[in-house]
Symmetry: C2
Subunit: 467 residues, 2 copies
Amino acid sequence: MIENRVELTPRQISDLGLIVDGRISTSQSALDQHGHDESAFPSSPPSAVVIAASTEEVSEILQYCNSEAIPVVAFGAGTSLEGHVVPLFGGISLDLSSMNRVLEVRPDDLLARVQAGVHRIALNEKLANDGLFFTVDPGADATLGGMAATGAAGTTTVRYGSMRENVLAMTAVLASGEIIHTGRNTRKLSAGYDLTRLLVGSEGTLAVITELSLRVFGIPEKMAAATVRFSSMSEGVQAATEIVKAGISIARCEFLDAKCIRNLNAYDSMSLTELPTLFFEFHGTPRSVEEDALAVQEIVADFGGTEFEWTSDEGERRKLWRARHNAHWAAVAAHPGKKSVSTDMAVPLSKLAKAVALADEMLAAHEFTHSILGHVADGNFHCQIITDPNNPDELVNIRRLVHEMTLEIIAMGGTCTGEHGIGAGKIDALEVEASDSLKVMRRIKDALDPKGILNPGKIFAAKTNRT
Amino acid sequence: MIENRVELTPRQISDLGLIVDGRISTSQSALDQHGHDESAFPSSPPSAVVIAASTEEVSEILQYCNSEAIPVVAFGAGTSLEGHVVPLFGGISLDLSSMNRVLEVRPDDLLARVQAGVHRIALNEKLANDGLFFTVDPGADATLGGMAATGAAGTTTVRYGSMRENVLAMTAVLASGEIIHTGRNTRKLSAGYDLTRLLVGSEGTLAVITELSLRVFGIPEKMAAATVRFSSMSEGVQAATEIVKAGISIARCEFLDAKCIRNLNAYDSMSLTELPTLFFEFHGTPRSVEEDALAVQEIVADFGGTEFEWTSDEGERRKLWRARHNAHWAAVAAHPGKKSVSTDMAVPLSKLAKAVALADEMLAAHEFTHSILGHVADGNFHCQIITDPNNPDELVNIRRLVHEMTLEIIAMGGTCTGEHGIGAGKIDALEVEASDSLKVMRRIKDALDPKGILNPGKIFAAKTNRT
C-alpha cells in the first residue's frame, strides 16, 4: 500500500515520457496547477504531470505505475470541492484534459459519447445543434470524466437525476492497465453487476474513466423560471419540501439565503431582493409550465412567500441560472483573499428545515462567516464557510465544527455528502455513516487495486493523512 | 468453489433447524415448490428449505452454510423468468416469504421501509392509505427482495425508473454472515461506493437482501389510459420511439402484437381489436394529461395508428393494465400443458424496430409458436416462445435460436437482458456481451463470497451447469 509521498526517479520520468511522446512535465507551474482544486485543502503537488491522449496511453501509464507502485491521480478541470485531484502522496497527476472530443451524438438514441476530458458546457453547445441537452449541471464547468468519477449532481437533479442516472456506459482503465467496457448504449440493462454505477462516484480510486456514453434529453418546448422571497430561511425550505410532496413537476428548485443573494448581486450585477429566496424552473409544454408555476405559487403563498416573479424570457432565465451557478465564486469574491469550505449534507425531506436551522445556528454560534444554499427539493444543502488560507488554525476549527454538525446530520438519518463525494475531508464522517458497509467498499478496492495506486488517501484513510 | 450438487447431512439439517426454531423442511412438497420458478427451466429441488424470520437468523444461517460450504439460494415468490431461484447445486432454499412486514411508511419523506418478503401488491395496498404508490411493477406479484435482487423493472419504468432508481438503502447479509447496511434514506447520496446499486441486480450472488428502503411517489392527481392499433408491428414500434424522442411525458407505453392481444382477450375476457397495439398511460394534472394524450394521438396518426381510444375511468384503466400484467400467463394459458420461454433483449431506441422484426422473422422461420410484446419506450422487448415441457429437445433448439438472436442484438449495441437478469440461461450471452468487464464482476464475487455459496450457477458459469 502507498504510505508515503512518492517522488519519481529520473528513470521513471523518462519511461513515462516515452509512453506519452514526451507529454510529461515537472515544471513548477504544471505541478502547482495540478496540486490543488477549488477546495480549501492545502496544495500538494504531484511529482510529475503526465498528459494522456488516448485510452491506450492511459492503459500503458497505469500498467507502468502499477508495476512501479507510483500513485496516480486523474485530473480533469480541477474543480472538485473535496480535494479529489490533490495528489496527497505525490506520484503522477494524470491529466485527461486533452481527451476532449465529443465522439458521437446520436439524436435518435438520445445519447452522446464523449472522451473523459470534455467539459459540460462544450458538450451542451454541441448538443444544442440537435435540439438536445445534457442535464447534469454542477456549478463549475467540470469535465464529464470528473463529474462521473465524483458522482456529480446539479440543479436539475430533482427532475433528470445525477450522473448516476445519466451515464449509460463507460470505458475505464483498471490499476493493472486492463481496459474495460461497462454498461451498454441501452436505456435498460440488467446484465450482471452494475459496474457503471460502481465506478460512478468511486472518486478515481477504482479505475480511470476515459470515455462515457451519456443519456441526453430533448430541449423542452418551453422553459420558464420563477423566484419567490421568504421572511425566514425555514419558511422557504418548508415550502420547497411541500412542493415536492405535492408531486408538482419542477425541473429546478434551489434555495439561497439572504447572504447568498447579496453575494450574487455583487458578483453578477443583479438586483435581487436580499431575502431568503427560492429559484424555480419549469420544463414542458406552454400550458403545463404555466400550470406547474401556478401550483407552486399557491403553495409558496401558504408559507408567506412574496414577490413571486416569473419569466419565460430566455435571456432572463439564463441570467438567473448563471448567477446561481456562480454562487461558490460569488461567496469567495465577497471575501478577497479568502477561501470557502463547502459542506454537502443531505437528509430525508422531512428533516430538511431542522437540519438547515441546526447548521445555521452552529455556524453562527462560532461566528464563522457563512451562507447557506441548497438543492432543497432533494434534501441537499451546502454551507459556504469562509476561511483565511493564511490562518490554518481557523480551517482546523471549521473542519472540527463541520464534523460535529455532520454527526448530528448522520444521527437524523442523513449523509455527509449528497453530491460532492468523500474526497480527503470526510473520511472520518464516512467511517461513522457507512459503518458496517465500509469494509465491503474496502474489499472491492483491494480486489481491483491491490497496490492502492489509484488516488490514495481519498474515501479511505491512509496512514499518513490520518488526523 | 461449489462444483457438485450438495445434499445436507442429518447433522446439518439438525444444526440449521436449531437456528430457525425448527422452520426447516425436507418434505417432497416443500422441495418441489422451491425447485422451480416461472421459467421453463427444469426443476432442481434444494436439499432442504429453511424459513428465515429475521435478518439475524439469515446471518446465522449464512455463517453456518459458509463454514460448511452449503449452497444458499434466496427464495421470495418464485416468480423469476430466468431460473434465479432454482437450486442448481442443491443445498438450501432460504425462504424469506415470512419476512413480510411493511416496517414503516413515511409520507413526509416519500419512502417506505419493508422486509424482503413483502409482495409489491400488498405494499401498494398499504401505501394507498397515504395517497402513495410504489412504481415498479413487473407482471408478477413478486416480493420486493426478489425484485431488488433481480433489478426488476416494469411498465412505468419509462417514467419512474426501475428498482435501480427506487431502492434507497438496504440491509443485506454477506456470505460470511456479516450484516451490512447500504445507502441512506436520502434522495441523494455520494458517500463512497454505491453498494446499494451493486447489490440491486446481483441475483442473490453477492448477499441476501433482508430489508429495503424504497422511494415512493404520490398517486398522481389524474391518470388516463389510451390504446391505439397499427396494421403492422413495425409501425407501432416506430410510433413509440418517435414519442420518446419528442419528449412527451408518458407514464407507460407498451407494445403488444396481435397474438398477445388474442391471448389477453381469451384470458381476461377482453374484446380488444386483434391488431398490433400500443397501450399508454398518462399521469399528471387533468390538463397536462389531456395535452400529453393529444400530442401522442398526433404522432401515432403519422404512423397509421387507428382506433385511438382513451379512458380516464379508473375501472377501465385498471382492467386494461391488469390484462397487460397477465400477458405471460395469458400466453401460457392459450397453450395448455405448455411453458413459455421469455426473451428480454434491449437495444438503443433507433434499433428497436429492426430488432423486433429480426426476432419475429427468426422465430417464424423456425415455426416456433411465439408472441412479442415490449416496454418499447425503453427499447426493451420480450418474445414469448411456447415450448412443450415433455419435449426437452425443443427447449434446447429454442435456446440455441435465442442465443443466435442474442448475438445479433449484442452486435447492434444491445443487451441480452433489459430487466430479467442473467440467471441460469444467459451466461453464454453475458460472456460475449460483457467480455472484458466480466472479469471485474468475477473479482467482486470472489472478494465478497470466496467460497461461492451464494446462488452458484447464476450469472457466472459453474463447471457442472456448462452446456
